[in-house]
Symmetry: C2
């Protein structure tokens, strides 16, 4: 019998609440299936840990995670701890440390999910964004000179390596070929002539190896306009770290809201564990009230199941979320319902068991 060992970092704010539901669903599925089992090991890292120890995770934290089949992350961030410390010390550290260079974010409007766009049907919003997740604008290279003087200046350097660009672009081409869908590269060569002109060149080069894949290139400003005006033109999208960050939040807005947005941080070679997370933040304003929407967290379980080879369950779980949305019986307040966070996992399992 197959067994999956999952490391859980529930993190801050609503993190523990939404993760709890995801765990319930994952365990429940393993019971229904009967052919695989799952165990969760909790790591109490995050901002509270930081306030006690001065570190977001212990010095040997990465070693402790290394042996797991996947990392399941809730949310990171807390009023009082500067974001660049909390995120840099945990979320971004794991993404980089485990070379999770692919950030895979489905932007898909499920039936029954709310959409702020007029005249858009669920089938019009159905793309997968492949975001570069290890370098680029997030390379964390920079300096600040002449602090607190009039001449003060801050530099932030984006680093685009050939290796880094090639691997994410190639991944996106493989995905587009496999899914028989078009691929759109989003960049900004007209203003960022070092980084983005290079990105565009690599995209064109790799494209030569995939004559069967229809390709498009868009500027990030135009792309953000089309996300709103004509989302159906996007199928598979590949873009840089920062642009992927912006566009996937915009994508979440048009695909049901942050309560429904999941993301996978993949190390495709499986040399290190991959990490799965709802992409919303820790939402301190509603933390502890039991009202956070755990569907993004549950959707990320679907992504985890897919990565672990349980493709059918991955899809069944996504369908169950869609049914839950369409039935409108058991939904959290952000979706117009009155259910509690803790009701959602069971409701999803009930649908799966029908």
């Amino acid at each position: 019998m197959e067994h999956f060992n999952i490391a859980v970092i529930a993190g801050d704010g609503v993190g523990p609440e939404v993760i709890e539901e995801g765990k319930k669903v994952f365990s429940g599925i393993s019971r229904i299936d009967g052919n695989f089992s799952v165990s969760f090991t909790d790591f109490p890292w995050g901002c509270e840990y930081y306030l006690k120890t001065g570190e977001m995770m212990p010095a040997d934290g990465m070693d402790l995670l290394r042996g797991f089949d996947a990392v399941y992350l809730g949310a990171v961030g807390y009023p009082g701890v500067p974001d660049h410390i909390s995120l840099g010390g945990l979320l971004l550290r794991i993404r980089r440390g485990f070379d999770e260079y692919i950030n895979l974010r489905p932007i898909r409007l499920l039936k029954g999910a709310p959409c702020p766009l007029a005249d858009v049907r669920p089938e019009d919003v159905n793309m997968i964004v492949v975001r570069e997740n290890s370098e680029g604008e997030y390379a964390n290279v920079g300096a600040r000179l002449y602090s607190d003087t009039e001449r003060e200046v801050a530099f932030q350097t984006a680093v685009f390596s050939r290796h880094g660009c090639e691997r994410v672009i190639r991944y996106a081409f493989e995905l587009a070929r496999h899914e028989k869908r078009s691929l759109t590269s989003i960049s900004k060569g007209n203003a960022l002539r070092y980084s983005m002109v290079f990105w565009d060149e690599v995209f064109a080069e790799i494209g030569q190896e995939y004559p069967d894949v229809e390709t498009h290139s868009l500027l990030v400003d135009a792309a953000s306009m089309f996300f709103v005006k004509d989302p159906k033109r996007f199928e598979i999208v590949v873009t840089s770290n920062l642009f992927g960050d912006i566009l996937t939040d915009l994508g979440a807005a048009i695909a049901g809201g942050m309560g429904l947005a999941a993301g996978a941080n993949l190390n495709p070679e499986r040399k290190y564990p991959s990490m799965f997370e709802p992409i919303h933040g820790s939402a301190p304003d509603i933390a502890g009230k039991g009202i956070a929407n755990p569907l993004a967290s549950i959707w990320s379980v679907s992504q985890m199941l897919e990565f672990l080879g349980e493709r059918e369950w991955s899809q069944r779980l996504l369908s169950a979320i869609e049914i839950l949305l369409m039935e409108r019986r058991i939904l959290t307040a952000d979706l117009g319902g009155s259910a509690k966070t803790a009701d959602i996992g069971a409701a999803v399992l009930e649908i799966l068991g029908r």
Copy 2:
């Protein structure tokens, strides 16, 4: 009698067509008013010029423009000339060379303008974006190493100086105070710890001088979500060069489309001429057909009039555009009409003359 000397760079693609209508409107207004006159001097620069001469503008181009009261720009860019050459050699060169460090972009949904958002009324979309326009991500600092080898790497460095941040943030605070509206700073301190953490600090510092102005700070990813989900929370917005680029295209999408989006590139000290432009591109696919929508170009005349001290005409012109949209008689195809580009200027003047 006051006289305005305007330098015109109609540029590429639809540029000349839309600029023609703006000139008509400006001249027409001066005739109706009777107390000021205007003259236009055309400079035939752009991509055709580049193909003939190897330069987007002559070596003494900036000197030729220096004496004018304003520069009126159409569009720049042409298939066959790489964007980073055409833009860098003209649009961005003027922005930088004339220290037009404020890019002022109204995001305002006029009555009668189309909006892709459900449940949004015109009064919900009414903000002004103050975009840093001289440095930041567009500083044009970078390098490429080990070209065409596996180790190739591109660096692109964003430069945020205290002087550069302070002046744009201060401008935005002054505007917010003057208009009695809130000010939202949009940045990304949680991932870009040099540039954006610095920006956030400067924003907080300058804010101390404006206790009467209500302030907010948002991450750029969250902001792009809220542009779509809750645009009315934005009144005055201040942000970096790149984020302003992305957010104002997104803003254009929710405020009637690119056919209605104007931008002013201001040197507030008036040491150099300021530049006014529709923010759309050269649209080569429809160039020469006489069907481009010139309303963005005409809106930028309204911005020009305001900057030249003709505030009342600036507002009357904007109202005339709104009436044109509401009447729906004379509109270009992108707005569902069948009028030609060349019909629009006269239609606007007819309304102004009523």
